[in-house]
């Protein structure tokens, strides 16, 4: 553990005057020095046999939170998936309740791996999970991320995914938020034919906050990207979506679509969205869309006329809206039943 004076530590945290953090003020949330702010976190990792787990002193990532993770977690846990690996069993990642952790997945040529992450804490704390995934040629990664924190939790989770040629990434995130929480996904294509499906939903009540930020940096040709994020926000909660496609000049024939659609269930909730395209290649098809709305009153009346009580009608419409984000999952039953439960409580 490093003994850093509290003020110096707070000074290092990203804050709202930084463009990338303007809606997620980590410094503001950490002034009362939450538990875990200067501690290491040791997640529980369960992996199918054939996967190697070791601890190494690898170079830190460049990001503010990445540097901070090195200060308190020191070494990284490295999960090595050998070339050609295949398994029906996922790597399970849990117990990320307090402190800083560094996790690196090295996924070999043609390997296929699922990673199921549970980010959950019932007690107030500060968590910073810094992850990196290196995908060798033709590797396939499927991430399933479940997030549900108590209302005074601060959690930042960052994943940098580096993909060599012919890699495939599938990611489904379901977040019920926390005090101040952010899931950031950064993808860099280093070889051609990247396929990525990046989908997620946040459902937030009370004063919860969830930020879904992504930066997809395309440096090679023929990438196919589909991203959709659904938001449902109630009470005084705040949902944040920041998405960027950065299409560099070699990334010809990129086909990329980004959507963020959010629903406001109260007058006091907030949605902040910033979808961005930055394109330097000329032969590409890129699109982004962003909508914020409320439930359709006429549809609700129609449902009530058929005998469906108002609350149930609201839940049914909202569930259908959110479900689209998880249509492509091999098995979305766990996510859907959690969503149904949440909607029963919050519609």
């Amino acid at each position: 553990m490093t003994n850093m004076p509290h003020n110096a530590l707070i000074e290092q945290l990203p804050h709202r005057r930084m463009e990338a953090w303007k809606w997620t003020d980590v410094r503001g949330a950490a002034v009362s020095e939450p538990q875990g702010l200067s501690a290491a976190c040791n997640p529980t990792i369960a992996a199918p046999s054939g996967i190697d787990i070791s601890t190494e002193g690898v170079a830190p990532s460049e990001s503010v939170m990445g540097k901070l993770a090195v200060t308190f977690a020191h070494n990284a846990t490295v999960i090595t998936v050998p070339a050609g690996f295949k398994s029906d069993a996922p790597v399970l990642l849990s117990d990320m309740k307090s402190g800083h952790a560094r996790l690196i997945f090295k996924i070999g040529k043609g390997a296929e791996i699922s990673v199921t992450e549970t980010h959950e804490s019932g007690a107030a704390s500060f968590v910073n999970i810094d992850m990196r995934f290196d995908l060798a040629q033709g590797a396939k990664l499927s991430r399933t991320i479940f997030h549900n924190d108590c209302a005074d939790m601060t959690r930042i989770s960052t994943a940098q995914i580096n993909a060599w040629a012919d890699a495939e990434i599938t990611q489904h995130t379901l977040s019920f938020g926390g005090g101040l929480t952010r899931f950031e996904t950064r993808i860099a294509s280093l070889g051609e034919n990247l396929k990525a499906e990046i989908h997620g939903a946040y459902l937030l009540n009370d004063k919860r906050h969830c930020d879904m930020t992504s930066y997809i940096d395309l440096g090679a040709q023929s990438a196919h990207i589909r991203q959709s994020v659904k938001g449902v926000v109630a009470g005084k909660a705040r949902g944040v979506f920041q998405g960027k496609f950065h299409v560099r000049s070699p990334a010809q024939f990129t086909d990329a679509e980004m959507r963020h659609d959010a629903m406001m269930l109260s007058d006091t909730c907030q949605i902040r969205a910033k979808p961005e395209l930055e394109i330097y290649a000329d032969d590409v098809a890129c699109a982004h869309g962003n909508t914020v709305g409320a439930l359709d009153e006429s549809a609700l009346f129609y449902m009530r006329q058929r005998g469906i009580p108002l609350r149930q009608a609201r839940a049914l419409l909202t569930e259908a809206f959110v479900a689209e984000a998880f249509d492509g999952m091999a098995d979305n039953s766990d996510f859907m039943s959690r969503i149904t439960d949440w909607l029963e409580q919050n519609s």
């Binding site: 009530r304 108002l310 419409l317």
Partner: protein
């Protein structure tokens, strides 16, 4: 069965009166038709009876099977057997037709203190009714009304009506958008529901539908009230002469 007395409804904070002292009584077992020019207030009557937001009832009363209809929530009215076949049925994205309807049916049953209908029984009934109405089974798997043609939506309203077996049925221009074949199929469905304990109010612009569903009474609605009434033959006269002489 339903007794509407001096019903008066306004919109825009009372600036516009749409129903203007409307009185009408439909006894159990009878089918009444309401005809009238565009903008007369026909759809508004159907919305006020079913409890849609946005209308202020400033005067009058509606007695439905001994209950004060206007004091009930829309879903309570539905559970008490009131059904509206919408002039413009809504699209319900992402909710498969069968799931929607089973949810509705069981919500009504629950609120009446009845047992819910199990899936196999529900499916069997739905398949039989869909076949009668010439609705293709794959349509029932699609989200309700999404991407359906005008005629398909109208047929889906009748499908829902036959599944829910309501006690009092309001049909708002169900005939518009239907070709003659579809009209006959829909009319057969409606006629099959005619029963001594069931009432119907059929709103239509054209006399055509009334050749298939012969009403007991025909009323003219103009400027927010009933201005004339007659028997089934009165509809033919109205079609020939138009509504001009009833205009305010």
């Amino acid at each position: 069965m339903i007794k509407i007395k001096n019903l008066t409804a306004t919109v825009n904070d009372g600036q516009q009166t749409i129903l203007n002292g409307l009185s009408l009584e439909v006894p159990a077992g009878e089918v009444h038709a309401i005809m009238g020019p565009n903008g007369a207030g026909k759809s508004t009557l159907s919305y006020v009876l079913t409890g849609k937001d946005g209308y202020d009832v400033t005067d009058g009363s509606v007695d439905y099977l001994g209950q004060d209809l206007l004091a009930m929530e829309p879903e309570e009215r539905a559970s008490a057997g009131l059904f509206l076949s919408f002039q413009y049925p809504l699209e319900i994205p992402g909710v498969p037709t069968m799931h929607f309807l089973r949810t509705a049916l069981n919500a009504q049953r629950k609120s009446r203190g009845e047992d819910i209908m199990a899936a196999p029984e529900f499916l069997k009934k739905a398949r039989a009714i869909a076949a009668d109405l010439k609705i293709k089974p794959d349509m029932l798997k699609r989200p309700l009304n999404v991407g359906f043609s005008g005629g398909e939506k109208k047929r889906m309203e009748i499908f829902q009506m036959m599944m829910l077996e309501p006690k009092f049925i309001i049909m708002d221009e169900t005939d518009s958008g239907l070709d003659v074949d579809a009209l006959r199929i829909v009319a057969d469905g409606v006629n099959a529901l005619r029963a001594p304990d069931r009432g119907m109010l059929i709103i239509t612009h054209y006399q055509r539908l009334l050749d298939y569903i012969v009403p007991d009474r025909v009323h003219v609605l103009s400027d927010g009230k009933i201005v004339a009434s007659g028997d089934a033959d009165f509809a033919k006269l109205l079609e020939k002469e138009g509504y001009d002489k009833y205009a305010a």
